[in-house]
């Protein structure tokens, strides 16, 4: 049986990186995610798997180290929290443009500005709607448990290489700092340089081989028609991602008359709210988007005929609710409840807000 450990979400990310065969981690300390790099440094994976771990001089540098590493066809990742992710957005845009695979973990803290070190979900727009410049998307996964923090590292690398795109794990300080049972999966071996050359040698910068032209990785094209063609290719890719990669979880939706939509730590709290409502005889269900991009539009639409109302519950001023509204498209009332600046709601508080908004 696999070993079960009690770990913080942040520690799970680090352990998963090593066990899913990551080649490189480049990061910069910031609360509340510093345990990721601390754990990696303590584990010394360079002695075992050969994984490179480097503390960079800034988040700007970290993301550009990812750019370099990803150019090489290597599995590279970083983690940070909100202000650091803002600095990385330029690099993420470049990587999306240059079609490079990588994993960026955002353990969100409340903003704006330096904000607070307490958890939040106020970087939803940044993660899902772009963050950096240009028409691009990254796949966004929202873990709701320490086990998912671990598992999504492997999933992220798979998706990143399948679509040659940056993938973001959008977590928050609560999931990052919380300890839960985590089951370590069977380790995946790192690819050798030869295997990388064989698998990705047609695009990665691994040294120009005599039989091919030099590989050039760039997000630059000064010709408008060429740049438009690149954009069309990217949009085609995002369409495929929307078709194939939607992930979500439902709780008591079969007979639900009302629906909560919440992700990450909010969804955990809402699970309890659903229990409270059910105890009072209210048919409330929960839909938890696991992928925030691609957003589970259709699963929400499929539930609409039985629903009297939907409430989006978020640790922000109302961000995902816009996507919920797009999915619902005016067919039933959509309400929102949120807290900001690092404050968290309790299950009871969400239930009270829900009851008030729908006059129950």
């Amino acid at each position: 049986m696999a070993e079960k450990l009690l770990k913080k979400g942040n520690e799970a990310i680090a352990l998963a990186a090593i066990r899913y065969g990551a080649d490189g981690y480049f990061g910069y300390p910031i609360t509340p995610q510093s345990e990721v790099m601390e754990t990696l440094m303590e584990e010394m994976p360079w002695e075992t798997t050969g994984m490179v771990v480097l503390q960079a001089e800034s988040e700007t540098s970290s993301i550009n180290m990812l750019y370099g590493g990803a150019c090489c066809g290597k599995k590279v990742m970083t983690s940070s929290s909100s202000p650091g992710i803002s600095l990385m957005c330029e690099g993420i845009s470049y990587m999306a443009g240059a079609e490079l695979p990588c994993l960026v973990v955002n353990v969100i803290r409340g903003g704006p500005g330096l904000g607070t070190i307490q958890p939040g979900q106020s970087d939803y727009f940044q993660a899902v709607k772009g963050g950096g410049h240009g028409d691009y998307k990254v796949i966004v996964l929202a873990p709701a448990s320490v086990q998912e923090m671990y598992d999504f590292v492997g999933l992220s690398f798979d998706l990143a290489f399948k679509y040659r795109t940056p993938v973001m794990i959008l977590s928050d300080g609560a999931i990052g700092q919380m300890m839960e049972k985590v089951e370590l999966r069977e380790p995946v071996r790192r690819l050798t340089d030869e295997e990388i050359a064989e698998k990705y040698g047609h695009w990665a910068t691994v040294g120009k081989q005599p039989h091919r032209k030099g590989n050039i990785i760039s997000s630059l094209s000064l010709e408008a028609w060429e740049m438009e063609a690149i954009n069309l290719r990217l949009q085609e890719k995002y369409k495929k991602i929307k078709e194939n990669e939607v992930r979500y979880e439902t709780l008591l939706c079969e007979d639900a008359e009302y629906l909560l939509v919440a992700f990450g730590s909010s969804a955990r709290i809402c699970e309890n709210t659903v229990e409270l409502a059910r105890e009072k005889g209210i048919k409330l269900g929960l839909l938890r988007p696991i992928t925030l991009f691609p957003f589970p539009e259709k699963p929400i639409q499929d539930l609409l005929p039985q629903l009297k109302g939907v409430m989006s519950v978020e640790l922000n001023a109302g961000q995902m609710v816009e996507d919920v509204k797009l999915a619902v498209n005016g067919k039933v009332p959509v309400e929102f409840y949120g807290r900001m600046g690092g404050s968290i709601f309790s299950p009871q508080e969400v239930f009270t807000a829900f009851s008030e908004k729908f006059n129950l």
Binding site: D23, G24, F26, V52, L54, A56, E57, S58, T60, S61, S62, N64, M65, L66, Y67, G68, G69, C71, C72, K74, V76, E90, G91, Y94, A98, D193, A204, T205, V206, G207, K208, Q209, P210, K213, G214, N215, I216, I217, S218, S219, L220
Partner: protein, 253 residues
């Protein structure tokens, strides 16, 4: 004698490096980039490391370096080439990694990246073209622009009061423990080009020996933005740039 009689191996004195592509360079006539590209290609060819060399091109005039030198290239965001090079070299310790940067890229927006890459002693080669101006964006002030020098953003000349002092970043870098070879060269004469080529070769050899970071500054001209003829620009460089940016090795160990 027919021309065909002359074209034979015994008479061969000079040829274009096989590591240079046939693409016509976009650089202005008289620009140093072309010469430095040629020297870099020759070193890669002579060391027979075309299949082991990964280049990182900057934002600036040399953004398209990847079109001219036939190796695998990464095109970096402005100033970040040393970060890309760091990861690449750490992930492929047996390959050669060369970052090619201009003065705005290396000494302004990318100051943190170059200082820290050099301070960590990354086993990479950095080629730093210093022509004291932003070329690609149309001749604005660079961190290395000399006092009183006119640029698009210092139309009355660079003033210390307004713009501060020209940055001798190479001197700064030479102080860092992580660097093993820091030199300042120029390619305005055949002798200068030969010395620069020797420096590039030494930098690659240092990289193989894992001695630390090697940086070659090439004091260069930008005749278009300096608004001079190539010949005038070379003369102006010798008279004005060299006294402030003196040529020679700053560090070699």
């Amino acid at each position: 004698m027919d021309v065909k009689d002359i074209i034979n191996p015994e008479n061969f004195v000079y040829g274009k490096s096989k590591v240079l592509t046939d693409t016509v360079m976009h650089y202005c006539p008289g620009c140093s980039h072309g010469v430095v590209h040629k020297l870099l290609a020759e070193v890669i060819e002579e060391m027979d490391i075309q299949d082991k060399t990964i280049g990182v091109s900057p934002v600036g005039c040399a953004v398209f370096a990847y079109k001219y030198i036939d190796i695998d290239w990464q095109q970096a965001a402005h100033g970040r080439a040393p970060a890309l090079a760091t990861a690449t070299k750490r992930l492929y310790p047996d390959k050669y990694v060369v970052a090619y940067q201009g003065d705005g890229d290396l000494a302004s927006i990318g100051t943190a990246e170059i200082i820290h890459a050099c301070n960590r002693g990354e086993n990479i080669v950095v080629i730093f073209i210093n022509n004291a101006i932003y070329g690609m964006t149309g001749g604005q002030m660079a961190p290395t622009t000399l006092i009183d020098m006119k640029t698009a953003t210092t139309p009355y000349g660079r003033s210390v009061e307004l713009n501060g002092h020209p940055l001798k970043i190479t001197e700064l870098i030479a102080q860092l423990e992580g660097t093993c070879f820091v030199t300042r060269q120029a390619v305005h004469t055949p002798a200068g080009a030969r010395r620069t080529k020797r420096a590039i070769r030494k930098a690659f050899e240092n990289s193989a020996q894992k001695k630390g970071t090697s940086l070659i500054e090439v004091v260069s001209t930008c005749n278009s933005n300096w608004k001079m003829s190539p010949v005038q620009a070379n003369e102006w460089m010798v008279e004005n740039m060299f006294p402030f940016y003196p040529l020679g090795d700053l560090k070699d160990r």
